[in-house]
């Protein structure tokens, strides 16, 4: 037994010595090699192909996405302010806006999905998307599915959590609002496990699907999206707002602020100034479609190459199996 332990000890120590060897190498000769390569890389005259390759590399996913976000720390003495670095950004951010890891919409559309289609309101819509789940506005459960029940879910885990509203400064919640629907007489989240799994499977198999399969899958995935999204004034209204603000944990003061004349007035202003543009979500040439859109109440499609047509051709309320 003692002999066995000794052997184990020796083996472990051999591993340790190897590790030390690597450290020593890195501290000494590795520097020399690194310097040698650096120096020679600096002296080489690049050929045109090299330069083209370098330009290409600059546009690679690694450079553009993975390496694009830096962090900075400001040492203020009484605290260290660490935040994301956005080039040329003047004001401080102060905390991190983490991605929604649970939403299956965000997995394709991103966390800031509202873009050119709703140009003048995109930032507002993104701001709301930060604490309101996509389905809350883009899905209108019809008929018997309607419940009027909304809950907060954790951005990280997806669990239903208690209201974060009154513990945090406005809009900085770690949770998002998600509607509940009635399916087979049971009260369930609209982003059911089955739907999440469906999207995951689609993304996994996307490459191997045929044209028909792909379109079908997309249609089914977007089948919960209603033609007409929820509009600003449906919630920002003193009378019977769509979201049960009090149940979602908003205090009287916050409810008053959300439905105040200031906010409502601003929405009216925006509607007045920018609604005409909102009526033409990039499909102005097609007269028939334009007519359709004008007949319907304005659409606020999410930004995606496929989202707009999908929304238009949507067969209503067809839930996928």
């Amino acid at each position: 037994m003692k002999n066995f332990l000794t052997k184990i000890y020796i083996l472990a120590f051999m591993a340790l010595v190897t590790y030390f060897g690597v450290i020593i190498w890195n501290l000494t000769f590795a520097h020399l090699i690194h310097e040698y390569h650096e120096r020679h890389a600096g002296n080489v005259e690049y050929s045109e192909e090299d330069i083209a390759q370098q330009e290409k590399d600059k546009m690679s996913f690694e450079q553009v996405i993975l390496k694009s976000e830096k962090r900075v720390k400001n040492y203020l003495g009484y605290r260290v302010l660490e935040q994301q670095y956005i080039k040329g950004h003047f004001h401080h951010i102060g905390f991190d806006v983490g991605p929604d890891k649970y939403s299956y919409c965000s997995s394709c559309h991103g966390d800031m999905p509202h873009d050119n289609v709703t140009k003048d309101m995109r930032a507002f819509l993104n701001m709301h998307a930060f604490f309101i789940g996509c389905q809350t506005c883009h899905s209108r459960p019809e008929g018997e599915m309607t419940t009027g029940v909304y809950q907060w879910y954790d951005r990280e885990t997806g669990e239903i959590v208690s209201s974060p509203v009154n513990d945090a400064s406005p809009g900085t919640y770690k949770a998002k609002i998600i509607p509940f629907v009635l399916e087979n007489d049971a009260l369930v989240r609209i982003d059911s496990k089955e739907r999440i799994e469906f999207v995951a499977q689609y993304r996994l198999n996307e490459k191997d699907l045929s044209e028909g399969q792909r379109s079908k899958a997309k249609k089914l995935i977007h089948s919960v999206v209603s033609k007409k999204p929820v509009m600003c004034e449906e919630c920002h209204s003193k009378e019977n707002p769509l979201l049960p603000l009090e149940n979602l944990g908003y205090s009287k003061r916050r409810v008053d602020s959300i439905t105040s004349t200031e906010v409502v007035g601003m929405i009216k202003n925006y509607t007045k100034f920018y609604m005409p543009q909102m009526l033409h979500p990039g499909v102005a040439d097609d007269a028939v479609q334009q007519e359709q859109v004008q007949q319907a109440t304005p659409v606020v499609p999410v930004a995606s190459e496929s989202a707009a047509p999908d929304a238009k051709h949507q067969a209503a309320g067809e839930a996928e199996e």
């Binding site: 002296n43 993975l66 400001n74 040492y75 004001h91 800031m112």
Partner: protein, 350 residues
Amino acid sequence: MLLNLIKRPHWSFGALLIALCLLPGWVLAADMGNCLLCHKYPGLSRIDNDGKMKLMFVNEEIFNKSVHSKVKCEGCHTDITKIPHEPAKPVDCLTVCHIIEPTSEQKFSHKSVKTFIDESVHSKIDQEGKLKKFSEDMPTCKDCHDNPLFRPLAFVKKVRPGIAEDAMGRCRVCHEKEDFIFRFYNHITTRLHKSRSPLNVAEACGKCHDDKALVKRHGLTVMAGSSYAETFHGKAANLLSETIPDCLDCHVVKGKSVHQMYGNDDPRSSTHPENRGAICNSVDCHPKASVKFANYQVHPVFNKDQSPVVYWFTTFFYVLTGGTLLPLMIILFLDLLRRLFPNATFRRRK
């Protein structure tokens, strides 16, 4: 490596909340137009057509602790006159804002900075007023400055810096406006020491001076930030020393502004060979040092072409260290291996 980059800490605003508690609750004077009604929401953002993230969020608590906390939003964002507004134009830092400078009773402006900068090494124009080559590389305000934050000192509070309530209490005896007391205290105590930690200063300069392409294009001899980090000063800055000299302590003439930096060949520059000796033996640094002391290379580079002596000297020690330790590690390894098989041998013992 990549995983590290993707991973990002979330929601560290617990720390922020603690900081908030220190803040007395008064109404933010700057937000006359109620801009924060919308801009207090951190999600107020979009990705523009170049794929750049535009974040329109203003963190009220942090803004209140910045030197601009008394300036109204529209004092800088002059193009915003009504709500709803068009996408805001870039702010002109030289604009005349609505603050009255108390000594001259004139409206306040950063205009003098421009005259300084135009003369300095960082100007976009040369002495004849023509655009320099690669003038687009030259820094604009926001390349070096974000919104400067107060860094209050408190001598009555020995444990750590910050606002001393004791000192504030003394102010309150005569002054009534809480807002004024807070800002005055912060302004004075921030100005009494470095307005940024040496590490933050080195990082700010390093944004350009450690950029290989920029350094090469402008014919600079060293990567200033990373070579500074190799010296004692840089390492101490890295360990958050507040008193260690940073870039500005040597490159700005004592008593002048950061914006009045000149090239090494300019006799007005503090780093001109003629003036260099006086940097080190200033009363605040190494008072009795001789002029020879300034021969010390503050930007040493481990590169055979740039500084062969440093290269060979360092190489000697690398080889000595590696050459001693690696064989010893091999002996150690073999010794351990021998202990696993104590009696094995190729040859029978005689």
